[in-house]
């Protein structure tokens, strides 16, 4: 008996949560958005999502020489999120290039999971956006699937109801606010994201949209919140654990920064949409933000 005893440092019990379970929860949370994408954009959407996810998982498995293709699930999350940022019917090779870039340049050159500075899916998307701008802005109307422009780039307002449920042109996952909110609710419930980043992100977009897009208009603020990639970015990309601050105050600053940068690009930049670059830019500031916002420790004595 005696020689079998394990001696280790306390604590001797651990929560059942693991990286894999966290990533699985995120995949579950992404499901409503995936479903909405398939409902609105049909089979091509499904193929896009599958190709991206598989390519991301395969790339990671090869880099890690891991026989289990799912691994810890983080590559699948990157793949799905990347797919959700793509237009409805991109060529298959675009999906593959984006996923491979996301996993290699976005993640493994930095040392793999936990060490990357930038959100891997957004690195993939940014690369595609600057390299194949045509493919990346090939928008289709939902259901009928005819070529069109996104609400952000068009002059006609699609109506708030359509914006909310997602019956508008746009990237696969960014169109339906409803589906994204459902998924986000799950992540809140599981304790994987806090309100701080998404709420400050959305608040900044709402306020700047209300004030600066052609005079004071609350409905214009709401439009900016619901249109484009803000919801997807706020709930699923800016909240990426690895690339967002860990301190409570840092998360507030990070969320605000994402919102402000997004609106600066939308209102004054060359691109109609700025979520990608806003988050990537804020990602770079995370170590700085963390170290400037260390929480006040218990019993801290003024020096």
């Amino acid at each position: 008996m005696e020689n079998k005893l394990i001696v280790s440092s306390s604590p001797h019990i651990k929560s059942p949560e693991s990286i894999k379970s966290v990533m699985s929860d995120v995949l579950v949370a992404l499901f409503p958005a995936v479903l909405a994408a398939v409902i609105f954009f049909g089979l091509p959407a499904l193929i896009t999502i599958l190709v991206c996810t598989l390519a991301a998982m395969l790339t990671e498995a090869i880099i890690l020489r891991n026989k289990n293709i799912f691994g810890d699930g983080s590559a699948a999350v990157t793949g799905v999120i990347l797919a959700l940022t793509l237009p409805p019917n991109p060529p298959w090779w675009l999906c593959v290039v984006g996923s491979v870039a996301a996993i290699t340049i976005g993640k493994h050159v930095f040392g793999g999971i936990g060490n990357n500075i930038f959100n891997p899916a957004l690195v993939g998307r940014a690369l595609l956006l600057v390299s194949w701008a045509g493919h990346m802005t090939n928008w289709l109307t939902p259901v009928e699937l005819t070529a069109t422009a996104t609400p952000l780039a068009s002059s006609s307002h699609p109506g708030f109801f359509n914006l909310f449920v997602g019956a508008v042109p746009g990237s696969l996952g960014e169109t339906s606010a409803l589906a994204l909110l459902l998924g986000a609710a799950w992540l809140f419930y599981k304790g994987h994201i806090s309100w701080r980043i998404p709420c400050t992100f959305l608040a900044a977009v709402f306020v700047m949209g209300s004030l600066l897009d052609g005079g004071f208009s609350l409905s214009q603020g709401l439009f900016h919140v619901l249109a484009g990639g803000v919801m997807l970015g706020a709930f699923f990309m800016a909240t990426d654990m690895v690339t967002s601050p860990v301190t409570p105050r840092g998360q507030l600053i990070f969320g605000l920064g994402c919102g402000v940068m997004t609106m600066l690009v939308r209102l004054y930049g060359a691109y109609p949409e700025g979520v990608t670059f806003a988050i990537l830019l804020m990602n770079a500031l995370v170590p700085l933000i963390d170290n400037m916002t260390l929480p006040r420790k218990y019993g801290e004595v003024a020096k």
Partner: protein, 442 residues
């Protein structure tokens, strides 16, 4: 009413049902009592007896001249057979007096009740507490008389009885509160008298409604004592957290509770104080929870100090075949043992927790995914993830910058970490390295 609680913390499963309804039963006295000469934080005792001496129960057999120390007493009557090393829960062999039990339980003449106990002065009471060898029985084993002697310029406003028992599995304090509530109140009043504190609290988590009821009954009519019901969350019973919750005060970093006018005593310690003052009893036995799925019959037992853990385990039906870990204390802060040979129950042994291969996992350590959960759960708001990565790289200065020295080692960060990083262990390492560096610099 919203329950009182603190920032951070975790909710591990209670695992208390195996023993919380089981009354405390006396354990068999040991055949040979092994009384370690160091059962407390502070200077070890020198033996007052020699091999071959006859000793009586309650006789002082070890004492020290150091102020931060507590004497030890014979828990059985009999003959001193040897003075030699025995194992300690900390893993470091300590000197101990081995007494062969004559099973007569003859009390030593020094053990006399104090009929006039209500008229004793604070100094007399403090002396009784010291001579009884009372130490903090929650596990830290800090000598109680030292706690009861705050610096003259620090006035104590509150005495807090810690009945939170936030460690999963353990029920020793719970049973003490159920079975001896009046003695806890008596011990609290004595402590309040010694430090001239105007107000007392008895803090209990809301997962022990029967104990709350028992103590509310016991304090009926006591105007300056309040039973405080706390939200059940680990580490609700950590000293600094308890003080913040009940008084709103924060013990300054590196300071002691007396600095903010507070004194915290474990529920079991209060009973020991009451017993010492009224009955003249030294601390020679304590309640121990023997539990976990690795033991056949989990129980709460009143165990003589010096009883070998192996004998206690035997009285609980022995270990199960799939035993993988024996812990002295609770699962969050207890100490895992390489074995139970020559390991006696001491004043600080609140539990003997036996876990099987179902609970004991050896996890692969993954890279930090910066989920920040360790920051959220840390009750002292330090940065476990950054301290962990600093230690991995040997950067102890950086670990100090992230407040490693303020860690209370509650274990919440390691518990919650999805990457299974041994954060608490790393922080402990950092504390040791930083302390060593500071000592070398002096």
């Amino acid at each position: 009413m919203s329950l009182k609680t603190f920032k951070g913390g975790v909710h591990p499963g209670y695992h208390k049902s195996a023993t919380e309804q089981k009354p405390v039963v006396p354990a068999k006295p040991p055949a040979v009592a092994i009384i370690p000469l160091s059962q407390h934080i502070g200077a070890p005792c020198e033996p007052l007896v020699a091999v071959g001496d006859e000793v009586k129960m309650g006789q002082k057999i070890g004492d020290s001249k150091g102020f931060v120390s507590a004497p030890v007493h014979a828990s059985v009557s009999g003959k001193v057979t040897k003075i030699a090393k025995c194992n300690s829960a900390l893993g470091r062999p300590v000197d101990a007096v081995f007494i062969e039990n004559d099973y007569q339980d003859t009390w030593h003449e020094s053990v006399q009740p104090h009929p006039d106990w209500e008229n004793l002065t604070a100094d007399e009471l403090k002396k009784i507490v010291r001579e009884a060898g009372i130490v903090g029985m929650g596990g830290a084993t800090f000598p109680t008389h030292v706690k009861l002697s705050p610096p003259a310029d620090q006035k104590i406003d509150y005495v807090l009885v810690n009945g939170a028992e936030c460690e999963p599995y353990l029920t020793a304090d719970h049973r003490a509160m159920l079975e001896r509530p009046e003695d806890i109140v008596c011990g609290l009043k004595l402590a309040m008298k010694i430090v001239a504190a105007p107000k007392g609290f008895i803090a209990i988590e809301d997962n022990k409604p029967d104990a709350i009821e028992a103590l509310q009954k016991a304090v009926a009519g006591e105007e300056n004592i309040e039973v405080a019901v706390l939200h059940t969350k680990y580490p609700q019973g950590a000293e600094k957290q308890l003080i913040k919750v009940l008084t709103g005060r924060e013990v300054p970093s590196g300071g002691l509770p007396a600095a903010v006018g507070c004194l915290v005593q474990n529920a079991g310690t209060c009973i020991a104080i009451a017993d010492a003052v009224r009955k003249g009893l030294p601390l020679i036995e304590r309640i121990v929870t023997i539990t976990g799925s690795g033991i056949k019959e989990p129980q709460n037992m009143l165990v003589r100090v010096g009883t070998p853990v192996a004998e206690v385990v035997e009285q609980c039906g022995g270990f199960t075949a799939n035993l993988r870990k024996v812990i002295i204390g609770g699962p969050m802060m207890g100490l895992a043992q390489p074995g139970v040979a020559d390991l006696p129950v001491t004043k600080g042994t609140s539990g003997i927790l036996c876990l099987t291969d179902k609970e004991v996992t050896i996890d692969e350590i993954h890279p930090c995914i910066r989920c920040g959960k360790c920051v959220d759960v840390c009750p002292v708001s330090i940065m476990p993830l950054f301290i962990g990565s600093s230690v991995e790289q040997g950067l102890y200065d950086r670990a100090e910058k992230y407040n490693a020295l303020d860690c209370i080692e509650c274990g919440c960060c390691s518990y919650i970490c999805p990457a299974k990083r041994p954060l608490t262990q790393w922080i402990r390492m950092a504390k040791g390295e930083i302390a060593a560096k500071k000592a070398a610099a002096k």
